[in-house]
């Protein structure tokens, strides 16, 4: 009898968890829609958007020769406005040589080490953020692609599992805030839906440009869980899931967020 009660309770528990569903596609909102008018105006005007300073740096870096090979990005990829159009909308992408997905920053560093024979740029360095912002901006306004890639499927599942995994001293998962409680307030700030449409983006709190991984580390330490090192496969899997979750939404890079 007692065992029956426990099973009944478990059934209720799992039933309750199942109602915490993903956000319907039609109800998805970019972080932009949760911002105030001033922050929106800053993002909308390229002459007021501080992230444009990094984009201009990235444009200059694009044609600068680097490493022992003495090659610039432009030597292989020519005009970024044509060659990089839509690239960000399909990243993280599967890298056959590594047999796993890589994100845009990692792809830039693979190019640097393998093609330019240069040292990889550190994560969150000004140069790496500048190149990533310049490349990502070429996809501004384009929808994020939903990729049906069988190679990516296991990594996408791992990312989805991590999104729902409760962790840290507060025993929170990403989903607890961003699926179940978006639109409500956390410490006075609105909880957005966590769609990575504008990265790398200028966060007023950071007073600088930052990557999606930096944002993920923020959230993970906020949950009082252990962060992974920059470039960890766990982040890339989570990025992959977040991009899939935001499929069809428009790239806003370089975005501004509070």
């Amino acid at each position: 009898m007692k065992r029956g009660a426990v099973i009944a309770l478990l059934a209720i528990w799992s039933g309750g968890a199942a109602t915490a569903a993903e956000i319907p596609l039609s109800e998805r909102k970019s972080g932009y829609e949760f911002m105030g008018g001033e922050a929106r105006a800053m993002q909308d005007d390229d002459t007021a958007n501080p992230a444009m300073l990094w984009v201009l740096d990235g444009e200059a870096l694009w044609s600068r020769k680097q490493g022992e090979a003495g090659k610039s990005c432009a030597d292989c990829h020519a005009d970024a406005q044509a060659s990089m159009k839509g690239v960000t909308a399909r990243y993280p992408a599967f890298d056959a040589a590594r047999a796993r997905p890589v994100d845009l920053e990692q792809r830039i560093n693979i190019c640097r080490t393998e093609q330019q024979k240069a040292t990889p740029l550190p994560f969150e360095s000004k140069e790496l953020l500048a190149l990533a912002a310049y490349i990502a901006m070429q996809s501004r306004g384009m929808p994020i692609e939903a990729r049906d890639d069988e190679h990516l499927a296991p990594f996408l599942r791992a990312g989805a599992d991590m999104f729902k995994l409760r962790q840290g001293q507060l025993n929170l998962s990403c989903a607890v805030c961003h699926d179940d409680n978006w639109g409500r307030k956390l410490a006075g700030a609105p909880i957005p839906q966590a769609h990575p449409t504008g990265y790398p983006l200028y966060r007023l709190e950071w007073q600088t440009l930052g990557s999606l991984q930096r944002r993920l580390r923020n959230c993970i330490s906020g949950m009082r869980a252990e962060t992974y090192a920059y470039g960890a496969p766990e982040y890339v899997e989570l990025e992959l899931y977040l991009m899939w979750r935001a499929r069809g939404m428009k790239i806003e890079t370089p975005a501004v967020r509070p």
Partner: protein, 106 residues
């Protein structure tokens, strides 16, 4: 030189009021932050910004440690004559940056 983005309309009618925008890349290190060992990051900020319209000063600002990184200014002036709108930033550690845009007044 630090990267700056300035915005002046290329054309204006005589007597029109137009907006000028100036954004510059600078970390604006306050001088109040300390590292893990308690050592202070020395102050490094922009202290002055001046905008001139054909040599005449039309806007000036003093900046202080509480100003956020990458300072942005927006202000208005009246179109009087064609010419150059110039911008000058200066600050700690000999920081100096300039920019200039031409405007045609019809």
């Amino acid at each position: 030189m630090a990267r700056a983005i300035v915005n002046v309309p290329p054309k204006a009618k005589h007597g029109d009021v137009f907006e000028i925008k100036a954004l510059i890349q600078h970390e604006m290190e306050t001088g109040f932050r300390v590292d893990n060992m308690g050592k202070v990051f020395p102050r490094d900020i922009i202290t002055d910004f001046v905008c001139k319209y054909n040599g005449e000063e039309i806007f000036r600002a003093e900046l202080f440690p509480a100003v956020a990184a990458n300072p942005f200014f927006s202000f208005f002036t009246t179109a009087t004559e064609s010419g150059a709108v110039t911008f000058e930033w200066s600050g700690d550690n000999g920081f100096s940056a300039t920019a200039s845009r031409n405007i045609v007044v019809e």
